[in-house]
């Protein structure tokens, strides 16, 4: 099953697909443009992977002084950067390189501690698509990538749907693709992850308790390009859906 969380007519609803439209939990059928799409569930701890695809690692290798070897490169994000499907992400006026990152997002469904790889799929509630934007101008070498790069308001669209784990036969066998204004700029495959989903669940749960609603963003493949105001960015994963986002201009950082 796929579910969305949308605002419509003064309330927040759970919605399911109904052809090209949406069916609200109370039975009303509405156009998908008639609602405001929210992140599809309430997100707890937000864990993100850096450099988890071999090709992306190569793409960025010139600016790296360490690479992922034995341990995943991980950073944590706060919930404030999340927005839903069809939202707007703001590009700061002084940015020269802002890029999307299409990522398989894994939603935890059970309290999980010391879970082995073989049991990892049993703690997953489902999957969604995340677009983990980065503004490379702000990258510094202190607790890299710093939150100014990776935890900005509006810079982490997720959705459109929470897709039940049961509907995805093998999350390590999904094609990913990003288009900018309809042109394909990134295409990859989840089988190319350096650390796969069962590994990651064993790894994280070996030192921290994962809770229902926690979200793992599993990294992005090669093919990130600069995005300008007005660009429509569609990050899509096979079986999970297409997450649409539009870049908007943000005024300079001084108070209006």
């Amino acid at each position: 099953m796929k579910t969305a969380r949308v605002a419509y007519s003064g309330a927040i609803h759970t919605a399911t697909p109904h052809g090209d439209q949406l069916r609200l939990a109370d039975g009303r059928i509405v156009a998908e443009e008639a609602v405001v799409w929210l992140p599809p569930f309430e997100v707890g701890t937000l864990i993100a992977l850096g450099l988890n695809y071999a090709d992306h690692l190569k793409e960025l290798s010139k600016e790296l002084t360490v690479t992922a070897k034995d341990e995943p490169l991980v950073f944590l994000k706060g919930p404030g950067s999340l927005i839903g499907h069809r939202g707007q992400t703001r590009r700061p006026a002084d940015a020269t390189f802002m890029h999307y990152e299409c990522e398989l997002a894994v939603v935890i469904g059970k309290t999980a501690r010391n879970v082995k790889k073989a049991d990892a799929y049993g703690v997953i509630a489902g999957y969604t698509v995340a677009n983990d934007y980065a503004i490379r101008d702000y990258l510094e070498n202190w607790y890299r990538p710093n939150l100014r790069v990776k935890n900005r308001d509006t810079c982490t669209p997720i959705g459109p749907w929470l897709v039940d784990a049961a509907d995805i036969a093998d999350p390590m066998n999904l094609a990913l693709q990003t288009t900018v204004n309809g042109k394909v700029t990134q295409s990859g495959h989840t089988r190319d992850m350096i650390f796969n989903v069962p590994f990651l669940i064993e790894y994280f749960s070996s030192f921290m308790t994962l809770y229902p609603g926690d979200l793992l963003l599993t990294g992005t493949p090669d093919g990130v390009v600069d995005c300008q105001p007005g660009d429509v960015i569609v990050t899509e994963i096979e079986g999970l859906g297409a997450l649409v986002n539009t870049i908007a201009a943000q005024a300079s950082a001084t108070k209006p």
């Binding site: 701890t45 864990i47 706060g78 501690r113 879970v115 890299r144 935890n151 308001d153």
Partner: protein, 235 residues
Amino acid sequence: MIVPPFQLAFDHAPYRLSGVVYGTLLNHRPAQQALGAQMLQAPYKAAPKAPVLYVKPLNTLVLDGAAVTVPLDAPELEVGAALGIVIGRSACRLTPQDALDHVAGYTIVNDVSVPHDSCYRPSVRFKARDGFCPIGPAVVPRTSVAHPDALRMQVWIDGVLQQETRTGDRVRNVAQLLVDVTDFMTLQPGDVLMLGVSAGAPRVRAGQEVAIEIEGVGRLVNHFVAESCNPGAAA
């Protein structure tokens, strides 16, 4: 979806913490001075420009009086005493003039870490273990703390004073830190932003008691206990 059982309630707005806690690193001038010329060398290559921030996730949050587990693989932990700035009103792009109006009050945070030298790309294993962020015991209203940038902070281990610093001498004081953080991320009511740990953080081992005292804000006490050799069963 459920949220882990962490709740610090208090009797003024916004009445409870949201569970979102951000740490700030290298905000104490002596902490930057201790790094000295290293800051200009690889891998850092320059002093930090933006505030150096990190997240203490929900699994780390515990209250005053809770036992903190010392992991088997890290017998000695760093005690990061920090002033916790509790947000009272949605805070976005604040100015130095209005920043403090958005503060509900102050609390004490013990930002526990596995000691690590590198600030380049440290593993989340160092800061995100279960129970690694005691907070409390209360949120003292902003109006009761006249000078948040001049409070005495003490760390006591088993009753012996191990560190005494002040909330002053910061690269960014409370108001300026709020200005620079909310320039790019909105803080919500109940979120906690740490002013940043001081240089010379003491270390603690299993079997010891840590008390952090901040003048006018209170005293946060936690026992540190050894991890059992047979850690929790798989879910």
